[in-house]
């Protein structure tokens, strides 16, 4: 892991609006954590299953669950509810992968 980029996928229903907002918040958090070695892609929930294999972290604004990879609902970045808790959960995932 240490030499390769962290592959992050952010998915929402259409891959258009909420994933854009959420992805931006994720990037801000990565900057705060001093993590620069990552590759973040946005996608739709329909495309997401095809990307699970090639990704390290799955973040969605929907109700997606998998045991294969670390996965987190990041709706809080869109609604602002429990955003701080979400940030610390996500930070833990990223720091474990680094």
């Amino acid at each position: 892991m240490s030499n390769s980029k962290i592959q992050i996928v952010v998915a929402c229903g259409s891959g258009v609006a909420t994933s854009t907002i959420a992805a931006d918040a994720v990037k801000e958090l990565l900057t705060e954590l001093g993590i620069q070695n990552y590759n973040l892609v946005k996608t739709s929930m329909t495309e997401l299953p095809n990307m699970v294999d090639s990704t390290d972290v799955i973040l969605t604004t929907n109700n997606y669950k998998t045991d294969e990879k670390p996965c987190l609902n990041i709706m809080g970045f869109v609604t602002g509810i429990n955003e701080e808790k979400l940030k610390s959960q996500l930070a833990e995932i990223f720091l474990n992968l680094k």
């Binding site: 609006a17 909420t18 109700n63 609604t79």
Partner: protein
């Protein structure tokens, strides 16, 4: 920044509709007549809402942000609809759960990335209970932007 996408003719206040389909079919008339979207936008949004709902549970109230069908958007827009009586729509992060929605922001963006600031501004607005209350009372959305 939002001001360039929110137009007076796309603001519908204190309306009575029975469900989202009903809301959309009314808004579509203006979207088509004023050249904001093609007819197919309507179906794209209905399908999208069914598969991936857009209801947001906020702090003490709920808002829906239907969007999608970007290929049918001709001019980027945000349409606001406030309802006299709430309609039920499903929750984005838990589609099994339905929410009583009394304000909708229908978002039509051809491409998302260029509109990040605008979407963030809209989300900031939606998260403010005072703003939502004012909008429901009929305060012009232009005055809160």
């Amino acid at each position: 920044m939002l001001k360039q996408f929110v137009h007076d003719n796309l603001v519908f206040l204190d309306k009575e509709y029975k469900d989202f389909e009903d809301v959309l079919s009314h808004v579509m008339k203006t979207l088509i007549n004023e050249n904001y979207a093609e007819k197919d936008f309507e179906e794209a949004l209905l399908i999208r809402e069914k598969e991936f709902p857009t209801g947001l549970q906020l702090d003490g109230y709920a808002v829906a942000i239907p969007h999608g069908g970007s290929q049918y958007v001709k001019q980027d827009f945000i349409s606001m609809v406030t309802l006299k009586n709430p309609i039920f729509m499903n929750r984005m992060d838990n589609p099994e759960e339905s929410l009583a929605i009394d304000i909708l922001f229908i978002i039509g963006f051809g491409k998302s990335d260029t509109h990040l600031q605008c979407l963030k501004q809209l989300m900031g607005l939606i998260q403010d209970p005072k703003v939502i209350e004012d909008l429901r009372k009929g305060t012009s959305i232009m005055s809160v932007l």
